[in-house]
Symmetry: C2
Amino acid sequence: MEFRLEKTDAPAGARAGVLKTAHGVVETPSFMPVGTQGTVKTVSPHELEDAGVRMVLANTYHLVLRPGDALVREAGGLHAFMGWPRPILTDSGGFQVFSLAGLRKITDDGVRFQSHLDGSTLVFTPESVVDVQRNLGSDVMMVLDECVAYPCTREDAAGACARTLHWAVRSKRRAEESEARAPFSQGLFGIGQGSTHPDLRRSCMDRLVEIGFDGYAIGGLAVGEPKQTMMEAVALSAGLMPPDKPRYLMGVGKPEDIVEAIALGIDLFDCVIPTRNARNGTVYTRQGKRVVKNAEFAVDFRPIETSCSCYACRFFSRAYLRHLFQAGEILGLRLTTIHNLHFYMALMQEARQAVVDGRFQAWKKAFFNVYYGGNESS
Amino acid sequence: MEFRLEKTDAPAGARAGVLKTAHGVVETPSFMPVGTQGTVKTVSPHELEDAGVRMVLANTYHLVLRPGDALVREAGGLHAFMGWPRPILTDSGGFQVFSLAGLRKITDDGVRFQSHLDGSTLVFTPESVVDVQRNLGSDVMMVLDECVAYPCTREDAAGACARTLHWAVRSKRRAEESEARAPFSQGLFGIGQGSTHPDLRRSCMDRLVEIGFDGYAIGGLAVGEPKQTMMEAVALSAGLMPPDKPRYLMGVGKPEDIVEAIALGIDLFDCVIPTRNARNGTVYTRQGKRVVKNAEFAVDFRPIETSCSCYACRFFSRAYLRHLFQAGEILGLRLTTIHNLHFYMALMQEARQAVVDGRFQAWKKAFFNVYYGGNESS
């Protein structure tokens, strides 16, 4: 895995980069839609491609439970299994274990938990999670980390940081030991924790950089903390990350938060927001969110967004989408998902171009002016 | 609307025809997928096109309830509303009123019924149903008929036939009167009833032909009667229909029944079977049905059908489809629907080519030999 920085907007500002993986190139900043169970909900791989998606995230926790990483390996890896030939990042399962699984017991060795599907007991260790991601065959593997809820006492956050760092060392060792059985070159990213405690964020990230990874992620944010607190942690973390490695803000997020984080030097994002909101009937436009299933669109025969070139906007009206949602038809979920993915991808491409052209701050200001209808702080 | 017979396999046998409508040509025999609520469930118009679909059926009853035919008219008609530029046939709503709606009261004037959505009371008359289909702007409109359940006494069936014929006259008159407000040339098909009583089937169809329609349909079959009884009614009805008009067997059906009915001279079919079964995880292959969600396919990395060129078979394995069904993922429903539609369309095209080539009987025998594994009567 290689990362090349093409342009930086300012010493601590937005970056345009190129991430080279075994399954192709990803221009950054880039947003990864979430394909939890080996499919980005409602859309096909070719629709992802058409929407401009270049990398997807898949969830280790879900795939271990079903269909199992051994089966995915037998299928030729996740790319072959899900019919997606471009880059894939797999998370470590840590976040899901802490947020989805049943009773769980954390020890220094790993975490024992109950499947949310059938209650069976499983164990994730830093080593097993690397092994699983070798089986899945992702382009970027993530280390197992301990995620804490918000708010979190300094003591609890410090404990989680210590364990996360201990596990990071073991993860890296396992990745090195198992390199021979990798189907191709797989990168490994470390994850910084520390909740909202700046000193912990700092010490954790500093230590991760000492250990050395192919990229660095910021975990444990967007879990309920105020936006300003989140952005402070992002700014602090980004400032500690080596400039020549990709920087990944996990689980973020809303278009406005992504734009802010790009401005702070983040390269990679993932979130369920564009796809989950789409299935709830919420679409993103340059003028902000719209709830397409609302009655106001019943006789509105314009596309979601007149300037949009996505499949949904080229062929279908708000009135039709509203009808599909009212009638509970799957095509409605598909079309809003396609639109939202297209919106996110176009946003990332525009942001990147603005960095390349040396006009990122002006672009950002213009984006917010329109998005908030002239009120950036709303 | 024009219909041209290209080739007939035998005096009372399979036919290859061409149906010309305001929205293009349909080569017959042809199968119409059902787009109940203005969308063929789970698939986009472009996927229908790719699967070889040339004409879809939409349900007047459902569209009247939601979003309403006035709104569809305002949208520029159903073609524009649902983004489907090719031919559309709309049913009259009769079948749904008799099978879906709540309390209903039939009089000679029409039928009063309660919406299955909100219990509100609506009235369909032969005239209102033509008016609605003018608003929807379908290429082929169907007359309102009285559908009876199976079994049905001769007396009840005779009463329904009499009313159906009375309504047919009124439907034709209303269609003539309202021609000026048609958005383009819309055909009107009559529907023969008579349940399983041959003399009623005969007198009803004879009278319909006297009244004169752009095409003739056989209604009231595939409602639980034995297959042989159904085929006898089809054979009898087909023999009474003018050879120069399209013949439509409503609500049929299974691949094997369609092939039998083609052999009896039927040109048009519609049924929810390929799409509904797909959503239940059942796929059609030349070797018969398969339930792709079954455990036997968990590690089967072949496509549904090796010889199939549909999108699902080109890119995805049975194991992946099985996983998608296990995980409740929408992409699974989409892929099996695409496959089944492709299967049906390819079957119709093959049957047609066999008629054109003068080898329909041999083709039919070969189809059944493979489909039933050598046992045609199974």
